[in-house]
Each structure stands twice: as structure tokens, then as C-alpha cells.
């Protein structure tokens, strides 16, 4: 059993009368990479800043490697942060930027030089050490910001939307580099992002946040295939999961729930009937669970066709007006305005009860 790295205990925070974090608890393992994923205003950045010591908390505790750190000043917490806009010191050279924190911590001069040289080598910025930040490109500044964090040998790296300021090509490259960095350094990582692709590809576990609370914590594939509630289901995955209001078809399907759609068609799921409650249900369908069929299924009119090369996404509406997203092959001949027949794969469908909580097929599709 590895040691816990970071532990958050019931963190609460409000700005005046506006609560921003409402009882957040989380335990990270040693060397773990966790992504805080959520929309703007979900509280993810505030949580990161509380861990860094840049915000105070109203209630709760933050522990790092067993030591309580929320009472310590930011510099004494053993964490290093990479800021969204880099926050480099404009009047210092790259070398001075990286050495500044170590000098303040009274690290011996030759030790500082060795650490800066090592970080510069790893990040391939050894040639740039005597430049100032405004003589560098955005990608290079990002590396300096990461270098400034690395040289501190922190127990925990805090990355605040580290890729959001980079162009698409550079973002892909830096994503890979972050993954490699993570393997080289002996520390845990927290990354705040609103980009689910970043979270899915980099993190061991994703913490999905919304509305001041943690909605779900889990490995990327679990978040994707077993969303805890409708928010996670809609927020993770692109395009978003289709949610259709359905009623439980009484008597059919045995132990598994069988549901009736608005247009009268019946879908047999592999979600256990027990525990679904009695209220209205929503059927959750990923695009890959809805395919074209020659006959049978539900009739739908196509509103929009997105050709992605390897597959084609069809945005359509059913005869009762409900929007649904389907997937077809990359060579699909479907045009906007066509009426198609859709077959729903009930085996991979999700159900959400009246409270929005997710119910999923047993193991098979998990």
C-alpha cells in the first residue's frame, strides 16, 4: 500500500456569501497524476490555489506526505506551481528565473547551478539560459516555467491549465512531454484543466468538479464508461452523451431494465433493474451505441452531418422531437435532411435515475 501523497479533508471556501467549494475531500497516492476537470466556475482553480497556499480556506485541512500544510506559507509547503500565464519574472534571465526560489531557500550556489543545468538539459533550453522571457516564444516560456518548478524538487507539482496558452501543435507536443516528465521526476502531479482530452491522456485519475463539489473521482476510462451522474456523462466525452427521457417497461427483461422511448420503441439494457427507483429515467447513449440499420429501430431525421474521416457523426432527432447523436462509418452517404433508421445498442446504454445518479451495465461494458 503506497503512502498517501496529498490529502484534502472537507475543504470549504466562500467568497463573502458565495460558496465556491463545499466540502471537498480527496486522497492522492504517491507519484499519482490527478487532473481536476470541470467547467469555469466549478471551483477547480480555487482548490489548486488553496493547496498552493495562494488562497486561504475557511474550513478543512490539507496534508502533504502526512504533514499538515494549510497553515504554512506557500514557499514552505513543498509544492511547485506552473502558472497558466507562466508568471516568469520579466527582468530576470531564464537562469535567474529558475534559480530565484533556490536562492531564497539558501541552497548552496553549486547545488543551484547543478539543478538549473540539469533542468535546462531535460527541457532542452540549455541554449536559452541567458535570454530574458520576452525574447522567447510561448512554448519556450512554458518550458522555463516548468523548469522553475522542477529545480525545487517538490513533492507535488501544481499545473494550472498548463497547455491552454499554446497553439494546437505545440499543445500536443507539450502533452507528450508532460507525460515523459512525470515518469522522470519522483513527485505527484495535479493538473487543472477544462480540456477533457488533456485530462484523459495525462491523468491516472480524473477528479470531475462542478457546482463547488467533486462529482466523481476515477481513472479516465471509468469516468468515461461509468459516469456517476448526468453532469459527468454530458461533460466527459465528445460529442456529449445523448440523454433521452424513458419509462421503465414493466415486466419485460427479467433482472435487467427494459425501457420505452418517447416514440414507443423499447430498448433492452444490461443495467440491473434493482435500485433504479420509481421516478422518471433518462437513457444515456454514447454515439457509438447508436448505429444505422436497414430496418427496425427508431426513425430519425438528420439535422447535421460531421465527417471526421475515420467515422461520421449524425446529429438527428427522433419522431418525438428528442435529439440523438449516432455514429456511422467514415464513408457514410447520409445527407442532412435524410430520414434514417437507428438501432440502439441497449447493452452499452446507461440509465440515470430521477436524482441524476448513473446506473451502468454490469462488468461486461465497464
Amino acid at each position: 500500500m503506497p503512502l498517501p501523497s496529498l490529502e484534502l479533508r472537507d475543504i470549504r471556501k466562500a467568497y463573502g456569501a458565495t460558496p465556491v467549494l463545499d466540502g471537498v475531500s480527496l486522497t492522492m497516492e504517491e507519484g499519482e497524476f490527478v487532473a481536476f476537470l470541470g467547467p469555469s466556475g466549478s471551483g477547480k482553480s480555487t482548490l489548486l490555489r488553496i493547496i498552493a497556499g495562494l488562497e486561504t480556506l475557511d474550513q478543512g485541512e490539507v496534508l502533504l506526505a502526512g504533514e499538515r500544510i494549510d497553515t504554512l506559507p506557500p514557499g514552505d509547503r513543498g509544492v511547485a506551481m506552473v502558472f497558466q500565464h507562466y508568471a516568469l519574472y520579466p527582468h530576470m534571465t531564464v537562469r535567474e528565473n529558475m534559480a530565484f526560489g533556490l536562492k531564497n531557500a539558501k541552497v548552496p550556489r553549486d547545488e543551484i547551478e547543478a539543478r538549473v543545468a540539469e533542468a535546462a538539459r531535460v527541457l532542452e533550453i540549455a541554449e536559452q539560459l541567458d535570454k530574458k522571457p520576452n525574447q522567447m516564444s510561448g512554448g519556450q516560456r512554458q518550458r522555463v516555467a516548468i523548469g522553475r518548478a522542477i529545480v525545487k524538487h517538490p513533492k507535488l507539482f501544481l499545473l494550472d491549465e498548463p497547455l491552454s496558452n499554446l497553439d494546437a501543435a505545440l499543445r500536443m507536443r507539450t502533452r507528450i512531454e508532460l507525460a515523459q516528465l512525470r515518469n522522470r521526476v519522483d513527485a505527484a502531479f495535479i493538473m487543472v484543466t477544462h480540456d477533457q482530452a488533456e485530462a484523459m491522456t495525462l491523468a491516472d485519475r480524473i477528479v470531475v468538479m462542478n457546482d463547488r463539489k467533486i462529482q466523481q473521482v476515477g481513472p479516465p476510462m471509468e469516468i468515461y464508461s461509468r459516469p456517476a451522474n448526468t453532469f459527468v456523462a454530458r461533460f466527459v466525452g465528445s460529442p456529449a452523451m445523448t440523454l433521452l427521457p424513458v419509462t421503465l417497461a414493466e415486466g419485460a427483461g427479467g433482472d435487467y431494465a427494459s425501457v420505452t422511448l418517447g416514440d414507443g420503441s423499447v430498448v433492452q439494457t444490461r443495467v440491473p433493474r434493482a435500485g433504479l427507483g420509481t421516478g422518471t429515467l433518462q437513457l444515456g447513449l454514447r454515439p457509438e451505441s447508436v448505429r444505422l440499420t436497414a430496418d427496425g429501430g427508431s426513425s430519425a431525421k438528420v439535422d447535421l452531418v460531421e465527417r471526421l474521416g475515420d467515422r461520421t457523426l449524425l446529429y438527428a432527432h427522433l419522431s418525438d422531437g428528442q435529439a440523438i447523436t449516432a455514429e456511422d462509418s467514415g464513408t457514410s452517404a447520409v445527407q442532412v435532411g435524410d430520414t434514417v433508421r437507428l438501432r440502439i445498442d441497449g447493452g452499452s446504454a446507461h440509465l440515470f435515475d430521477a436524482d441524476g445518479a448513473g446506473h451502468h451495465a454490469e462488468a461486461q461494458s465497464a
Binding site: 516568469l88 520579466p90 530576470m92 530565484f100 520576452n134
Partner: protein, 295 residues
Amino acid sequence: MKAGGTRRDHTGLLFVLPFLTAYIVMLIYPLLRGMALSLQRVDLFGGGRFIGLVNYTRLFADETFLRSILATFALALMIVPLLTVLALALALALNRATKGAAIFRGVFFSSSVLSVTIVTLIWRFVLAPDAGLLGETAQALGAEPIPFLSHPTWSLWALAITTIWWSIGLPMMLFLAGLQQIPGDVYEAAALDRASRWTTLRRVTLPALKRTVVLVIMLQTAAQLQIFGQAQLLTGGGPGGATRTMVLFIFESAFARWELGYATAAAEVLFLLIVLLTLTQYVTTMRGSEGDGGR
């Protein structure tokens, strides 16, 4: 399309003409007229006579004028560094988004809107040794009051203090504007880098304010070399000419002794001194600091 091009040129000229007219009439012409005047013997009743550089040779042999240069520079040296440091300190203290800070920003700026006459009156009440606030306080404490208005050195300090109190508003505002330009995340990075408040000031804030500091010093040097109203009203240039500034000398030459040519020559010397000083300041302080602008 030659005709069209010419017409466009004329149109452009029309747009700058109002300003250009005012600029030439109000600035360039008086400047040149002043230069011409300084080479003439002329009094207030007109009728100048060209006398070459006689006014200038007289000036540099005139002990009163040379002493006024010294007094002016002494005052500038007392005022500018102190004013800059105080304005920066005030700006640092008031650079926060609280109601109290906003009120104090207003209070410290308010002295700048007063006229020099009122400022001098206020400080006369404070500094006068027999009936002033400082004098009475000193007497109440059993000490001898400082003769602020009748001692050659103390009277310079009286002028310096009055001037600093009067003109601290603008440099404070310039520093506040400079401070607002520094992004907050840089300070957060410094906090995570274990920088003490002193280190943060020295390594983050002051380098970012360098341009503002240069601007304030240049503006204040140019302004304080022209110090006049306070000297005329508070000490009248006394005691014994200790606080006779260059502008006061120019004023007395022109309107007490009616020697317009002589006064204009002194004004030209002052003009040259200001241009030389501010240029030197700019060149020396800005050297090697290209590339410090962005982040």
C-alpha cells in the same frame, strides 16, 4: 494619379494645421524670440539694441546669478530624491483595493490641486518660528524653535518640505499606475519561491517600476529647477539671497530692474541646463535596459 496624391497631402496638412499653428505661435516663436531678445539690451518700454553676447558674459560674472544656480540645484537635490522615495512608499502602501486606501489616495493627491499661494500660506503657519505650529510645539517641549524662514540652510529645507508636500500627488499616481501594470501571478510565483517582502520589492516590483522611476525623476527635475512661487512667497529669496532660485532671479531682473534682455539670457541658460540634465538622466538610466519591457 499625381493630382489625387497632392490633394491627399493637402488634406493631411489641414488636419494638423490647428495644432501646428498653436504650437508655432505659442512655443516656437517665443522660443526664438527669447533667443533673439537675450542678445539685446532692452527694457519693458521697448526699443532693443543688439549687443551680442554681452548679457551672457555679464551673467557669468554676476555673483547673484551664480548663487541662484547653486540654490536652485541644492533645492532640486533636496526635493527630487526625497519626493521620489516618498511617492513610491506612499504608492506601495496605498496600492490595494480597500476603501481606506482609496480615501488616502485622494487625501494625498488633494494637495496637488491647491494653488502655490495657498500651499505657501499653510506652510507659513506651520513653519513660522514665533507663531507657527512647529515653533509652538518646540516651545511647549522647552526646545528652541528652528528658524525655518531666517536661516540660510533651514530656509532651503522649508522650501523643500513645502514643495514635496505640494507635489507628491502626481508622482504617487504615476507609481500607482506603474504598480497596477505588474501582473498578480508574478507575485504569487514569488510567494511560492519563498521571496521575502524585501526580496519581492527589490527583485520583482522595483525592476518593473524602473521606467516610472526614470519618468518621475525627469519630470520632477525639470519642474523643480523652475521652482519660483514658493521661494517668492515663503522667503522672498532671503535670507541674504540664500533661497533666490533661478526663476526668481529671472523674475527680479525682468520686472524689478526691467532688464528684459538680461533676464531672457538667464532664462536661456536655465532652459539649456534643464534640457542637458533630463537628457543625461534618460540616457544613463535607460542604457542597457532594452528588452526589459515584456514578460
